[in-house]
């Protein structure tokens, strides 16, 4: 089953994503970006990602905060798969133990 609002959201997501893929090729290929624009573009994905997960950093559950700290440490030294496994395992176990 497909819902109209969901289809519209997905279509718009796909549209703006395709624009980002061709935009650099069309607009920027012969024109270097300014210093400020480059800095903003470079920082943008990280700013968005950290904002999306910010609620996890101010959780009221100690188990979640400890699990997040463990995940953060894992993320600085391990690749995707082990980090995800450690994060999920730590969260599952700590919630079970501490609540």
């Amino acid at each position: 089953m497909i819902d109209a609002t969901i289809v519209l959201t997905i279509a718009l997501m796909a549209g703006v994503t395709y624009l980002t893929r061709i935009g650099g090729y069309i607009v920027l290929r012969n024109r270097p970006l300014g210093v400020r624009a480059t800095a903003v573009m470079a920082a943008a994905p990280g700013c968005v990602l950290i904002s999306v997960i910010a609620p996890a950093f101010v959780s009221s559950h100690p188990a979640d905060l400890i699990a997040l700290a463990i995940t953060l440490i894992a993320a600085t030294r391990l690749s995707m798969l082990p980090t995800v496994l450690i994060g999920v395992f730590a969260a599952g176990l700590l919630r079970h133990l501490i609540g």
């Binding site: 607009v27 290929r29 700013c47 968005v48 990602l49």
Partner: protein, 242 residues
């Protein structure tokens, strides 16, 4: 050199195969990440068909994770589309870096090829083009190589996110097992990949603090927009220091 003489006469099919083969290690990392996204999407009420439509048409993992994390029923369209654009804004820089190698490619080929631009195919395609340029191979950019790598990543991504969505209901409430921690885990590893030093990461810290405060004190999903905007503003201000 013999190698470049061979490469000049490269048959598209063997170039395609070379692209698929070089994407192998990346695919192994993609699969668990795809399964987690699929399983989480069903928790948010998306059907497997809806999710595969999203991953097939949008084909940009980071933005899909962000969208699913923020997904409500009905979805907040503006928020999700804006976040998708911001997460994928790095494509603008990636496309610009690739553009010099695409000059000899007709636009009717470049535009479809760019649909498949992702972190993995970009990195592989650009590295290959630079290597071939250094060897004097013409053309430096091998479209079939790039497409081989792209299509392998595409098929894996769409296939395994769909599989994750089909398996999701079998797994039940994934939060009880701690599966929701997969989001911060994935995002933090992605951010480590973007890490270029403490100074460049200061806007991220601004985003984190502002987003957390807004989340605690303002109802709704404004924390994403507020956090992202303040981080970008910080990046803009800090750029003049450099």
């Amino acid at each position: 050199m013999l190698q470049s003489a061979e490469a000049r006469a490269d048959a598209p099919r063997s170039e395609l195969r070379r692209g698929v083969a070089s994407s192998g290690p990346v695919l192994l990392g993609t699969i668990p990440y795809a399964l987690v996204l699929g399983a989480q999407a069903t928790q948010k009420g998306l059907s497997a068909l809806e999710l595969s439509t999203m991953t097939g048409l949008n084909f940009a993992g980071g933005s899909e994770f962000a969208a699913i994390q923020l997904w409500t029923s009905p979805p907040h369209i503006l928020l999700i589309v804006a976040v998708t654009f911001l997460v994928n804004s790095r494509h603008l820089l990636m496309g610009a870096a690739l553009a010099p190698f695409l000059r000899d490619l007709p636009r009717r080929k470049a535009f479809p090829a760019l649909f498949f631009l992702c972190d993995e195919s970009w990195a592989l395609g650009l590295a290959d083009a630079r290597r071939r340029a250094a060897d004097g191979t013409v053309p430096a950019f091998s479209l079939p190589y790039y497409m081989g790598a792209s299509l392998a990543v595409y098929a894996t991504w769409v296939g395994f996110t769909t599989l994750g969505a089909l398996l999701g209901p079998v797994l039940g409430d994934v939060e009880a097992y701690g599966f929701d921690m997969a989001f911060p885990a994935v995002f933090l590893v992605l951010m480590r990949g973007m890490w270029t030093g403490m100074a460049a990461a200061r806007p991220w810290l601004v985003s984190l603090v502002v987003a957390a405060l807004v989340y605690l004190f303002v109802p709704g999903a404004w924390y994403v927009a507020a956090g992202a905007a303040s981080g970008l503003f910080a990046a803009w201000l800090m750029a003049s220091d450099a």
